[in-house]
Amino acid sequence: MATPTLIGADRPLDFEALPDKRPRHWPFSPWHLFLIPLSAAMLLPLVWSVITSLETSADAQRFPPVLLPSSLHFENYVHAWNSLPFGHFFLNSFLYAAATVAGNLLFCSLAAYAFARLRFFGSNLVFVLLLVTLMVPFQVVIIPTFLIVRKLGLIDSVGGLIVPNLCGVFGIFLLRQFFLSLPVQLEEAARIDGASRLAILFKIVLPLSAPVLATLAIIQFMWSWNDFLWPLIIITTPQHAPLQLGLSMFQGSHVTQWNLLMAGTVMSQIPMLAVFLFAQRWFIQSIAYTGIKQ
């Protein structure tokens, strides 16, 4: 049996294997008795953070807690936004995510095509070496990578976030597997017509690979957007911090102001949540296809 996660990227997931069967004399399926409390428990943390974010600080610091505030204080979001450079946080995160997505799409495509289609000197050895690095946890490379990035003068800059993450082995492997599954005849025909390798990659192979490229883009975007450890190590100035590090800095400066802290937290999660709600199917398919979270 193949790896469980490599379901076809082209096959839609419907997740509806079973009809709603219920025991006789039951007005509803007993599964609701399990799923309703479960959903409540899963949503409660998010709902409660939104409620707290709209309370006054006096109401937030009350026990028993004020479950339904008498008035909604949207100005908490304005206070949170103004107390630390949240505009910079969003911009830095966007730059970090966009640049690493672009870098991975380009460099992984080129390398994956070479490893899938071209027999070149040392290709097998190099490919195995790349796969070996996939097994090494990030903690092993973190200190030397820090020293290398410092040598390059990129400490405390968005560039220092981006450069080490421009091309991941995972992306090369993912794309190579997909390219290998494409029929080679189209490429051979174009080759006879005199098309260059580069033209074949960009005009024939990549257009056929849209689903897997989208998968790589989504996974990489999610990973960069939610990355915390690497920014924590190289960024010290708030203006250069991406969102998750900025949120952690914000936490450090508002330890007991829970309403503001929740406003900042909710605010920071809105873009990703919005994208997820909008493109839920793509997210789920990407995760199921690759089996990777962050």
Binding site: M1, A2, T3, P4, T5, I7, D14, F15, E16, A17, P19, D20, W31, H32, F34, L35, L38, M42, L43, L44, P45, L46, W48, S49, Q61, F63, P64, P65, F107, L110, A111, A114, F120, S123, L130, T133, P137, V140, V141, I142, I143, P144, T145, L166, C167, V169, M222, N226, L229, L243, L245, L247, S248, L261, M262, V275, I287, A288, G291, K293
Partner: protein, 303 residues
């Protein structure tokens, strides 16, 4: 392609052949991975035999770092916390996800809403998760203590209680991970023939045993994958600890990667931290190989 036998044909063949094109295509990626992957892996190994404060010139100390690790009670404690966390987190999250996926894999009123509720934490960042749970579990104002008070249970310290903090981290990370595991199981369930799933749903005695003998074998590859992947992630736990407890209270949640972070970037013991990283790497490698061997054998003997 040409059959020319001119004197320069060898050179021309080499240049025009796939060797040059292959390297031209692979070079940018390979260069980046060598600089930010392979060089650091080797450098880190060298560093683990050095005293290195990340500023002044390092000097060779042999196996002193590794020997010091053996006698470091703080490191031993971090290993204990990490293993305890992993041993609780992995079975609970994987088994829980299997149950939830089984429940969600059917036509039900509101099933789209249920799925959304389970999936949403997957896109919530670890930092946000940490801050939100810090608030939910606040010993004085927290919502969870409010619910407990309704049940007549006295207020708990949760993340500020050394005996409870690690279990709170487990609960928090299960909340964050469940959706991911469920997605993998839902995808795996698509590969099970409908008749078999329905057979396992037939009412009456032996429901569990028919599930176990009919459906479970189909889910073994996904289970193996999730056990391996969750174990690797659990052994590398960091973000949630940094945001919520910073290893406290009384060091009760200091896990290996948090200890490594402190050694490297707070105390500037680069060599010592590199030694910790390699011990972690070896541990992950050994545990993964054992899991794959044991799990792989069961997959092939049962299907």
């Amino acid at each position: 392609m040409t059959l020319s036998l001119a004197p320069d044909s060898r050179l021309r063949r080499a240049l025009g052949s796939e060797h040059l094109a292959g390297w031209a295509f692979a070079l940018p990626a390979v260069a980046l991975i060598v600089i930010f992957g392979i060089v650091p892996i080797v450098w880190s190994a060298v560093m683990s035999f050095q005293a290195n404060d990340l500023v002044s010139a390092p000097h060779w100390v042999g196996v002193a770092n590794y020997r010091a690790l053996l006698h470091d009670p703080a490191f031993a404690a971090s290993v204990r916390h990490t293993l305890l966390y992993t041993v609780i987190f992995v079975p609970l999250s994987v088994a829980g996800a299997m149950l939830v996926a089984w429940a969600l894999n059917r036509k039900l009123h509101g099933v789209r809403f249920y799925r959304l509720a389970v999936f949403v934490p997957v896109v919530t960042s670890t930092v946000a998760t940490g801050i939100i749970f810090l608030w939910l579990l606040d010993p004085v104002f927290g919502l969870v203590n409010f619910f407990l008070s309704k049940l007549g249970i006295p207020a708990q310290g949760f993340l500020s209680n050394p005996n409870q903090a690690l279990y709170c981290i487990v609960a928090m990370t299960i909340w964050g991970w469940l959706g991911f595991d469920v997605i993998i199981y839902l995808a795996a369930l698509q590969g099970v023939p409908h008749e078999l799933i329905e057979a396992a749903e037939i009412d009456g005695a032996g429901k569990w045993s028919s599930f176990r003998s009919v459906v479970l074998p189909f889910l073994r590859p996904a289970t193996l994958f999730l056990v391996v992947w969750s174990t690797i992630s659990a052994l590398q736990l960091f973000d949630e600890i940094y945001v919520t407890t910073r290893g406290g209270p009384l060091g009760s949640t200091t896990v290996v990667v948090f200890y490594l972070y402190q050694q490297a970037f707070q105390f500037f013991n680069g060599g010592y931290a590199a030694a910790i990283a390699y011990v972690l790497f070896l541990a992950i490698l050994v545990i993964t190989i054992i899991q794959l061997k044991v799990g792989g054998r069961r997959i092939y003997s049962n299907t």
